[in-house]
């Protein structure tokens, strides 16, 4: 196998990708996924944690209170988030329908120490973003009231949970697990998946467009042609992943062990690319190859995710800086798989070219 031949094939594939500008679409796709998942996270979090929406945080919502006087009413009076009105239940619900109130609460005359629970009825608007926010704010009030009631009934408990004093962490650290535990492995791994889909297209295209004859008549051997394509796909992975890491770092997300992350991703990507190449060589037809490969890909990804210390978990731990020496064991194992697949691919390619030469 000559390296010059590999380089020629790889270069040819690269210029094909560049002239078609398909690579642009691939990058656009990744950007879109990143954008949308971040937007979604921001949106959902702001829905559940209204303090992150500055506009709403200093607003006092009008609440109607009906039924009997309880400690709940006094907790509500003291809350800076609400303006409470004593109101008749029917009038309150009618005002709620006209959006003159944000919620209506009805409290029974159950005494705090009674045998049965205190059942409060809460009326809010259906399908409404702001009533979701009011819900979250009311939750704090209810939790405090629950604590008071529990304190009254404490003698009736037969086991107390072990006490743990946790410092308040309002609004902080919500995105941390999303960014490091989901976004980074996703973004860094996406180039690997794209590359493995690409190798199938590159190989089946030669078969289906009958361009193999021309290629085989050049000094390049069949195996060299396959490896050149593998090389072209593999080279793109660390480049794209590096760009992602760089972009994340520009956005103020500190990532440790950038170099190691790229190494792990490239090796793992080789597993997928070699699998793709084998599938493509076997089927020689895009529909079948892509179908089988994408199903196999789902199996491989789900399986590896359900194993502890899988390559994707390793990426996360490398990025947050808690990866231990076990990363080398995982890396060695993955390299072992790559070597095995590479051997199979080489033998398979040699066999195919022997058959086509003799036939």
């Amino acid at each position: 196998m000559r390296s010059r031949h590999l380089a020629i094939i790889a270069k040819k594939e690269f210029s094909g990708l560049l002239s078609e500008r398909t690579i642009l679409l691939a990058i656009l796709l990744q950007l879109f996924v990143a954008l949308f998942s971040s937007f979604l996270m921001v949106g959902l979090t702001s829905m559940y944690d209204p303090t992150s929406l500055s506009q709403y945080s200093h607003f006092r919502y009008n609440i109607g209170y009906a039924g009997n006087d309880t400690d709940l009413l006094y907790t509500l009076y003291q809350s800076p988030d609400f303006r409470v009105y004593r109101i008749d239940l029917s009038t309150g619900v009618a005002a709620l329908k006209e959006r003159k109130l944000a919620a209506v609460i009805w409290a029974p005359d159950t005494s705090p120490g009674a045998q049965e629970p205190v059942k409060v009825t809460l009326y809010t608007l259906q399908n409404d973003l702001q009533s979701a926010i009011v819900d979250v704010k009311l939750k704090d009030v209810f939790l405090n009231y629950e604590k008071d009631l529990r304190a009254v009934r404490v003698d009736r408990l037969n086991e107390q949970p072990m006490p743990l004093e946790i410092p308040p962490s309002r609004g902080a650290g919500d995105f941390y697990e999303f960014v490091y535990g989901l976004l980074i492995p996703l973004l860094v791994f996406m180039p690997a998946i794209i590359a493995s889909a690409l190798i199938i297209d590159l190989i089946t295209e030669e078969y289906q467009h009958d361009t193999l004859e021309t290629l085989v008549s050049t000094p390049v051997t069949f195996a060299e042609m396959v490896w050149g394509k593998v090389l072209a796909c593999a080279v793109m992975v660390p480049i794209q992943a590096a760009v992602w890491l760089f972009l994340l770092m520009i956005n103020g997300i500190a990532i440790s062990n950038g170099g190691l992350i790229l190494l792990h991703v490239t090796i793992s990507a080789l597993v997928l690319i070699l699998l793709g190449a084998l599938t493509a060589l076997h089927y020689r037809e895009r529909t079948a190859a892509q179908f089988i490969f994408s199903t196999a890909l789902v199996v491989v990804i789900i399986l590896s995710l359900s194993l502890p210390a899988n390559p994707m978990n390793l990426l996360t731990r490398l990025a947050v800086g808690t990866a231990g020496p076990e990363q080398w064991i995982v890396l060695t194992a993955v390299i072992g798989v790559v070597v095995l697949l590479a051997y199979v691919l080489q033998k398979y390619a040699e066999r195919i070219s022997r058959i086509s030469h003799s036939g």
Binding site: R99, K119, L143, L157, Q160
Partner: protein, 602 residues
């Protein structure tokens, strides 16, 4: 009758061909992989997903705390004596000493504490739900009642907030007051039922629930009864998983259709088909029919499998139609397999997000109805939806699908299918095919009119995207994007005409072309608005997206001016003038919106 017979023949042909093609040991392997997939999914459901294992390093001197921490495999826990614990605290994300949590002052430390907070709450809940006297541990229950308001989407988003401005006394409703029965002070469920539910909500300790517990602290099958800790907007997570169950098979099947179209084009294999004495629309329908039926069958099997109501086929059909239309166009446009892969992956990601993300808000906000999947979520939950809801959420899918089919049918011929030009050139040629040579102005009017469903779709997407941002920012982003999308849509027709025949653009023709484009856009916009989207169009977001429904001559003038800018740029600088032209038009459009709608300049 003849056309129907032709369609059946072609459909049979298609089935036969794909069966012979797939026979090369694809089916056995596919079955093996499918069985493997089920097995692996079962295994991962049992062992959980290990993506975030060991991301936090924590330490404690208390064995009980250590075992609590170790139950969450995000923590890698070290058990230490007092002195080394205190001395080495800087190398941990937090340490627990004597019942006190001491975090490091970093984002990671705070995130670790937040995780612990949730784990601890779950632990406390598990202790409390074991109590003999359940109502001593959970003394407060909240019965949540949803009230439907007549003023919905429009009122909250147009700057008004829930509730009235500050006032002296309690608010007085203007309408009639309906009598509300006094709620009963007792729970409608027994203590044991409630305990079972509480235990269930604590035991949902899978790694998948981890992503959702940030958002909602547990589902509830207890009807409307909740403990205060469970009080948060419901996230229909089960239903969302079901949606993926429906959408992915549809996407896969449409891939086969896409590939079948592509295969006709490789090495001019489809020449035989084209030379057959049938209409192109017959060929397309015939080729599409097997895939359409297969998708319907897949959906029906899924419905039977999950025991869902048959009603959800109704919103699925426009989605199938839309997927097939796009598969057809992509299969006709792509030059190579690489291009086919990337364009189709890109399309499917965009389409899936358009379908998926609004449906998350199914129980929270009316905006979720722009996705047909919301109707599916609602059906599965047992909530009723109206014919108007159906029209509102599916009309864009029907319209865009139909327009794409029309374009495809007009272009399904030799010189288009077998040409090797670049993607953008081919798109322009496809459009140019439907611009009639004899009536260019009428065609321009129609093209712009029919671009409206696409414009709305993209704008809806932007609305969903930007709706998540805080208020002023979301308006600004929407303002810019809406203007950009509209200007591009209006410019495309003129650009196509120009690219085909630059000499056509005399000053007179230029003005007329701009005029008909503007008119086409306005007419299309108004028609679609009146038909479907009144709910959104009345809000402040709507006023940016669609211009006001009130006066007609101002928007017409704006459209005319903007198109004229683009056309002049094209005339002056040729094709290079398109981008700057659209840029200038976008700025003009934004200024108009700012001035007339928001009144910020005035």
């Amino acid at each position: 009758m003849g056309a129907l017979a032709d369609i059946t023949t072609i459909a049979k042909w298609e089935v036969k061909r794909s069966v012979t093609m797939m026979s090369r040991d694809v089916l056995p392997l596919a079955i093996i992989l499918f069985v493997l997939m089920v097995a692996v999914t079962g295994y991962s459901a049992q062992s959980g997903l290990h993506l975030q294992d060991g991301i936090y390093r924590v330490a404690t001197n208390d064995e009980a705390v250590a075992s609590l921490l170790a139950s969450d495999n995000r923590f890698s826990v070290t058990l230490l004596d007092n002195n080394p614990l205190w001395a080495g605290r800087s190398s941990y994300d937090f340490i627990v000493m004597g019942g006190q949590v001491l975090p490091s002052d970093t984002d990671k430390g705070r995130a670790a504490v937040k995780t612990l907070e949730r784990d601890y709450a779950k632990y406390v809940n598990s202790v409390y739900s074991r109590q003999d006297d359940l109502f001593a541990a959970y003394p407060l229950w909240i019965d949540t009642q949803s009230i439907q308001s007549a003023l919905s989407f429009s009122a909250t988003q147009s700057g008004q907030r829930v509730g009235a401005p500050p006032q002296r006394g309690p608010p007085v409703p203007e309408g009639t007051i309906e009598e509300i029965a006094t709620p009963s002070p007792t729970l409608a469920a027994t203590e044991d039922e409630l305990r079972a539910e509480l235990v269930k909500s604590t035991s949902q300790n899978t790694q998948i629930a981890r992503y959702t517990e940030t958002l909602s602290s547990g589902s509830s099958a207890m009807g409307s009864f909740r403990t205060p800790a469970q009080l948060s907007p419901p996230l229909p997570f089960d239903s969302i998983i079901l949606i993926f169950v429906f959408i992915f098979p549809l996407y896969f099947t449409s891939q086969f259709f896409m590939m079948s179209i592509m295969n006709e084009r490789i090495e001019r294999k489809g020449e035989l088909l084209l030379s057959a004495p049938v209409k192109t629309s017959t060929i397309i329908i015939g080729k599409m029919l097997p895939y359409f039926l297969m998708m319907l069958i897949i959906c029906s099997v899924l419905i039977l499998w999950i025991h869902a109501p048959w009603l959800i086929l109704l919103p699925l059909i426009p989605v199938i139609f839309f997927f097939l239309a796009n598969a057809l166009i992509i299969g006709m446009l792509a030059r190579s397999f690489k291009e086919l892969s990337f364009v189709s992956i890109f399309f499917s990601t965009v389409a899936t997000s358009y379908l998926f993300f609004p449906s998350i808000f199914a129980n929270v906000h009316v905006i979720s109805l722009i996705s047909p999947l919301t109707l599916i979520v609602l059906s599965i939950q047992g909530t009723a939806w109206t014919a108007a809801d159906y029209l509102y959420s599916t009309s864009l899918f029907w319209l865009t699908g139909a327009v794409l089919f029309y374009i495809a049918a007009r272009n399904f011929k030799e010189e288009r299918l077998f040409s090797e030009k670049s993607l953008v050139t081919r798109m322009r040629e496809f459009l140019s095919e439907i611009v009639s040579q004899n009536h260019p102005f009428l065609a321009l009017f129609l093209i712009t009119g029919f671009s409206i469903p696409f414009v709305f779709m993209v704008q809806m997407m932007c609305l969903v995207l930007f709706f998540n941002l805080p208020m002023p920012l979301s308006l600004v982003c929407l303002l810019l994007f809406a203007a950009l999308v509209e200007e591009i849509a209006k410019g495309v027709g003129i650009y196509t005409l120009y690219a085909r025949d630059p000499g056509f653009f005399s000053v007179r023709n230029l003005v007329i072309a701009s005029g008909v484009t503007a008119l086409g856009f306005l007419v299309g916009e108004k028609l679609l608005l009146f038909a479907t989207l009144a709910e959104i169009s009345d809000s402040i977001f709507g006023s940016i997206l669609f211009l006001s429904l009130g006066s007609l001559w101002l928007p017409l003038l704006l459209h005319f001016g903007c198109v004229l800018i683009v056309a002049c740029c094209l005339k002056k600088w040729g094709s290079n003038g398109f981008a700057p032209g659209v840029g200038i038009a976008m700025i003009v459009h934004c200024l108009y919106n700012l001035y007339f709608i928001l009144g910020w300049l005035g």
